[in-house]
């Protein structure tokens, strides 16, 4: 809402404050002032001039040579405006004038003829083109005939308006009117308010003889008032009114339309003017549209209606879409003489449905949607008639023809001084509360510390006690509230075990060299089907997609963190950041329904991606590119830190390198995978060799038990034995290790692979794997016989399982 301070001054005295101070007071009390603007930048030395004569320039067809009386002198001015004519009163920038944009006016010669100034358009005086009345849009502005010659033109135009822009929250629709803003400012500054006087001289003719009103949908149209005016002279509205409209961002059209817009801004009540003679009947019937019914609105677009839309009809066909837009047929034009004026209350939701369906949001629909003041509807109609009679020469027929089932009652809200103070933490007295209510112009009955407040109908936001707490607090001043800390019982805040573990894992991976990412949860349908870990795939029936995505890129909820993470990695690669090491801990979304009806399951996954060099030390010529074992090593250390035992098995997973991917298990449970991205997928993402992992973090949380414990530091020495086994090259080391662990018994505390060999010293198709075995008994020193027995048992078992032989 744009509020011109010049206009506001008509209702409240604000001269004691600077615009900035006023803006701050308004902001602090409840409505945010989003900006203070000057409607047009100041011009100097621009006066009203009278065009005494206007002739063609001798050497230029499009220019005119004008003699312009500017009061104390007559200036010869060359003017190129198409609408210049003898007898006009115009704005003249005299030599030495400065126009907005620091445009300085000097004496000049135009095609050999002396020109002593410039005749100005509104745009040249700083008015935005979209607000300039159409008839002046391509030429100079013409003052009314009675304007005084020689007067300061910017004063007459009143263009040095200061406008404050209010950012209204949805509850404060009362401030969508100048009067609403005036009430607010009056309460804040504690100054009186002056309301417009709507005295009216009626003719003897009675409106009821010329129109009838019938409402068939009173639940969405509880009040409809029809007023009739005769003998309207359509023409420009008075200059001051046009200026007010322009300052509020509305382009002046003609006096009839401008008056309805002026009242809309003043009262917050939208009105509609029909050409009475083109209305098509003398009965107004308001009803729900029938399905498929059509209306051509005054923007000349045919609209197909449905049963949820409300229409004004002439008893036969729609003439207006209620609260949204009038019909083209009954539009007021230059030839209109009789006007049927509508002042009505339309239900907000009904108006919203129509304005949304046809994308016709307007000043009017906006106000109906937010709710207009029931007690101002009729009055606004009367106010418009008064202005039509004053500024359009109209004769107002007597009476308002109306349908009226409106609830005019004021809501009663009871408040208590002590309860207000309890809620605010203040000690405001009952007298102060009474004073605040008086400033707000709220009626109330006081009984000691109890107030029964009648919330005025303009303030539809006030319904319950808490609403009044806010009213009292904001006028009392939020700055005056004390600072306290909660006095309730102290409770120890803290992280849950799971939250602590999440932080542990993050710090661990960061210490291991990974940078945390935050990627989008919404991805493309195609990417949502990539890198799906087998255990996720088993639990998923379909992906979860938005009903109305903004783009295909962000249409589907992720089933893996990896696709968006790899997109980020590729983003870095494209910017010469070739070494990427990422992790992310976040939710994926899976559903067991073909078509989603319930909330999808949200599973926490821990994912990572690594590409480029893992270690580089240039001057020592050391380079270690990321490989499978870098990624796996990070996971192994993480699992060790979480005390989780996992196993790895070769696996084929979508979008992964078939030979370089391991599925991860805890016992028989699948918990994720680690491996290289499939070269084809790497290429599609714009990546080089990239390794990723994706782990079920919920399951890790579930099985993790961080019981404090202490393992005795062994007092007896450990014994180590090495064993090199020759097996078929297809036998996985992990499988051999598992058999060794099983066969070796409890005394084997650790098994480490220290060499893998394949080559000329071995038979083709064979490989040798060398393990170090560490034996220990916490209770005593081991004997050679015990170790030897275990060693032999291991040899027997690996021979049985894999045909393994000791390497000679």
């Amino acid at each position: 809402m744009f509020v011109s301070l010049n206009w506001l001054k008509n209702y409240v005295d604000i001269d004691q404050l600077t615009p900035e101070d006023l803006a701050e007071r308004i902001t602090k009390s409840g409505i945010e002032v989003e900006g203070i603007e000057r409607f047009a930048q100041a011009s100097t030395n621009v006066v009203v001039g009278y065009v005494e004569s206007c002739e063609k320039h001798p050497d230029a067809d499009k220019l005119n040579l004008c003699q312009v009386n500017v009061g104390e002198e007559t200036l010869q001015i060359v003017c190129g405006a198409p609408n210049i004519a003898e007898g006009q009163k115009v704005a003249v920038a005299k030599p030495g004038a400065v126009l907005p944009g620091n445009f300085k006016i000097k004496k000049a010669k135009l095609r050999g003829v002396e020109s002593n100034g410039m005749i100005c358009s509104l745009q040249e005086l700083g008015v935005e083109e979209k607000y300039v009345p159409k008839e002046y849009a391509t030429g100079i502005f013409v003052f009314p005939e009675d304007t005084e010659v020689g007067a300061d033109a910017t004063d007459v135009l009143n263009l040095d308006y200061i406008i404050i822009e209010l950012g209204l929250t949805p509850n404060r629709s009362d401030a969508l009117s100048m009067l609403g803003v005036a009430y607010e400012v009056a309460a804040i500054l504690d100054v009186p308010i002056r309301l417009p006087q709507t005295s009216l001289r009626h003719s003897d003719e009675v409106a009821e003889d010329h129109v009838s009103v019938r409402v068939e949908a009173p639940e969405v149209n509880p009040y409809y008032g029809a007023l009739v005016v005769r003998d309207v002279k359509v023409g420009p509205a008075p200059l001051w009114m046009r200026n007010y409209l322009m300052a509020a961002g509305i382009r002046p059209i003609n006096n009839v339309v401008d008056i309805t817009n002026y009242v809309l801004l003043e009262y917050g009540q939208p009105l509609h003017a029909f050409d009475y003679d083109k209305f098509g009947s003398n009965e107004v019937v308001v009803r729900k549209a029938s399905e498929g019914e059509k209306i051509v609105t005054l923007d000349d677009v045919e609209r197909t209606l449905s049963a949820e839309h409300l229409v004004i009809t002439n008893g036969k066909e729609p003439v207006a879409l209620a609260g949204v837009m009038g019909g083209a047929d009954s539009e007021v034009s230059d030839t209109t003489t009789n006007v049927l004026l509508e002042a009505a209350y339309f239900d907000g939701q009904t108006v919203r449905k129509a304005s949304k369906a046809f994308d016709l949001r307007s000043e009017a629909s906006n106000r109906f949607e937010k709710g207009v003041d029931p007690n101002r509807v009729r009055e606004a109609g009367v106010r418009a008639c008064q202005l039509l009679s004053e500024y359009a020469g109209a004769t107002v027929l007597s009476g308002v023809v109306e349908f009226d089932q409106m609830d005019y009652s004021e809501k009663k809200v009871t408040i208590w001084t002590d309860k207000i103070n309890d809620r605010l933490g203040t000690s405001i007295s009952s007298d102060e509360i009474a004073d605040i209510l008086r400033k707000l112009h709220f009626n109330f009955e006081q009984d000691g510390e109890t107030f029964v407040v009648s919330a005025p109908t303009r303030r539809q936001d006030i319904v319950i006690f808490e609403d009044m707490v806010e009213e009292v607090a904001r006028i009392y001043g939020y700055d005056n509230l004390p600072f306290t800390l909660p006095q309730g019982g102290t409770q120890a805040g803290g992280l849950t075990k799971a939250q602590e573990l999440k932080r542990h894992v993050k710090r661990f991976l960061e210490g291991a060299g990974l940078s945390e990412t935050v990627t989008y949860s919404l991805t493309s349908k195609e990417r949502a089907e990539q890198f799906v870990s087998p255990e996720v795939k088993e639990a998923t029936v379909s992906t979860v997609s938005l009903a109305m995505p903004m783009s295909e890129e962000h249409s589907t909820l992720r089933v893996s963190i990896l696709p968006e993470m790899l997109t980020s990695a590729a983003y870095n690669l494209a910017r010469k950041q070739a070494d990427v090491a990422y992790y992310e801990l976040g939710s994926i979304f899976i559903t067991d329904e073909e078509k989603v009806t319930r909330q999808p399951e949200e599973k926490l996954r821990l994912a990572g991606a690594l590409t480029g060099q893992w270690l580089t030390h240039p001057w020592q010529q050391e380079k270690k590119p990321v490989d499978f074992f870098v990624a796996k090593g990070i996971l192994e250390a993480l699992f060790a830190s979480l005390k989780v035992d996992v196993t790895y098995k070769q696996a084929k997973i979508d979008n992964m390198h078939p030979g370089r991917t391991a599925q991860i298990f805890v016992g028989d449970r699948k918990i994720g995978f680690v491996g290289q991205v499939h070269p084809a997928t790497q290429k599609a993402y714009g990546l080089k060799e990239t390794y990723v992992f994706d782990v079920d973090f919920d399951y890790l949380l579930e099985i993790h038990h961080n019981e404090p414990s202490f393992a005795v530091i062994p007092r007896f020495p450990s014994v180590s034995r090495d064993i090199a086994l020759v097996v078929d090259e297809t036998v996985p080391a992990g499988a051999v290790q598992a058999v060794i662990a099983e066969a070796g018994g409890d005394l084997v505390k650790d098994i480490q692979v220290f060499d893998v060999y394949q080559g000329e010293h071995l038979e083709a198709g064979k490989k040798s794997i060398a393990f170090s075995l560490f034996y220990q008994d916490p209770e005593r020193t081991l004997t050679d016989e015990e170790v030897e027995a275990s060693y032999q048992a291991i040899l027997a078992e690996v021979a049985k399982h894999f045909g393994a032989e000791l390497r000679g």
């Binding site: 009390s29 949607e369 605010l424 933490g425 808490e466 309730g488 993050k506 935050v518 979304f589 270690l615």
Partner: protein, 344 residues
Amino acid sequence: MKEQLQALEQEALAKVEAASTLQELQDVRVAYLGKKGPITEVLRGMGKLSAEERPVIGELANTVRGNIANAIDEKKAGIEAEQLEKQLAEEQIDVTLPGRPVAVGGPHLLTSIVEEIEDLFIGLGFEIKEGPEVETDYYNFEALNLPKGHPARDMQDSFYITEELLLRTHTSPVQARTMNALEDKRPVKMICPGKVYRRDTDDATHSHQFTQIEGLYVDKNVRMSDLKGVLDRFAKQMFGEDREIRLRPSFFPFTEPSVEMDISCKVCNGKGCSVCKGTGWIEILGAGMVHPRVLEMAGYDPKEYSGFAFGMGPERIAMLKYGVDDIRHFYTNDLRFLKQYHQA
């Protein structure tokens, strides 16, 4: 015999003196002090001596041995020190060459901000709660006093999946879920950080996905001045002890009264500048006293309980605190951005 021993001593000491390696010293030791050495040889002839001479010569022999041994030890220490000196000189490196880089990662800036805020509120006795990102219409809107048809829950503003399911537009539903889940309706003091989603076209100041931290305190006799006190603590810890806060009336369907909290502009100290658009204040968060309908729907009697709630955006806080100029930086994961915030 005496002369013989003294001559041997002189001869040995001269050889010790002349030795330049540990091996030569060892040779001297073996030659003069070994079991087959000349001193032992001399002592073997002691039997021919008189009873008076024998102890004198014995003592002299021991002295000679001792002197030779000492000289050898001394010389040895000298040679060893010399060798070490030489070795150290050879081992010198150029300490100005760069060290081997250590792979260093770190948390995302949003995580750092969220954890900082979490820790701050944990210190004030708050717990941390989490909730689903795909919410029901009921919890996202209705339970927060946004009934169906309310303008603030426009389909155009939210990512709906079905008519009843959508990506949460704020983390406030976690409040309602937490209160609902408490059978005994005891006081609640919680914050809930998380991802939220709105139908915004991504640009420098909008992101279809962003982060929110919602806070809630419900108890008997919670006052608006408590909200002001807690927010003041928050602002001072987060932005500096010299920051002032100001509350302005605002509107949210789930709080009444509702406020916006501003902090005094750090750039101009409240005098007004381009950062604060001349007002001296910068908007940080929205808050208010929990609406009685919200309490009621969660099973708390609004006659008995009151509370406050607040909601803030870590992206906005990060942008203000670190001068990040484009919200998209938080989601492109450019390492040049991420690594700026890995230092303590």
